[in-house]
């Protein structure tokens, strides 16, 4: 029993090294995309976002949105669902627990 534990403990640095070698390139790819796609909006982009939102509203009022193809509608629905999921991730962080409130 003690020998097995010793062997395991001796193996930990190799395992850690292997994990690091495995994850480094993947982390690099993730960072490569995340640095452009997942960054929060810079202060210069917020007026653009507001105008984009107003365009959306105008499109809804003028009935242009009724002309979207099903394909575009599905794509936009997917994007909207992803934005909604960020809300739930924020809630997870705020309540410091993954499932349920730990009161």
């Amino acid at each position: 029993m003690a020998q097995a534990v010793q062997k395991l403990v001796a193996k930990v640095p190799t395992l850690v090294g292997a994990a690091v070698t495995y994850s480094k390139p993947r982390l690099a790819t993730f960072w490569y995309y995340a640095r452009v796609e997942l960054v929060p909006p810079s202060p210069a982009e917020i007026p653009k976002a507001i105008s984009g939102f107003q365009d959306l509203l105008k499109g809804f009022q003028s009935g242009r949105l009724g002309q979207t193809t099903v394909r575009d509608a599905l794509r936009n629905g997917l994007v909207a669902t992803e934005v909604l999921m960020w809300f739930y991730i924020g809630e997870i962080i705020g309540k410091r627990g993954i499932v349920g409130y730990d009161v």
């Binding site: 909006p41 982009e45 809630e91 705020g94 309540k95």
Partner: protein, 71 residues
């Protein structure tokens, strides 16, 4: 590799503001639920004490009344 796509600012703002709102909502709801849960636990404790007291008395009485020669 495919070059990273330029996400529209509307989507970026929507995402991060959704994250912020979710964070605040989670924190607020947690702070709201915590004292309620503590109160419920306190009430449960008190009722448990009362219940155990009553059960003890009931058991004592039933033992006192169940005097039979068949014990």
């Amino acid at each position: 590799m495919v070059p990273p796509v330029q996400v529209s600012p509307l989507i970026k703002t929507a995402r991060w503001s959704a994250l912020l709102i979710g964070l605040l909502y989670g924190k607020q709801r947690y702070d709201y639920l915590k004292p309620i849960a503590a109160e419920e636990r306190r009430i449960e404790e008190e009722e448990k004490k009362l219940r155990e007291e009553r059960e003890r008395i009931y058991k004592q009485l039933s033992e006192a009344n169940s005097d039979t020669i068949l014990k």
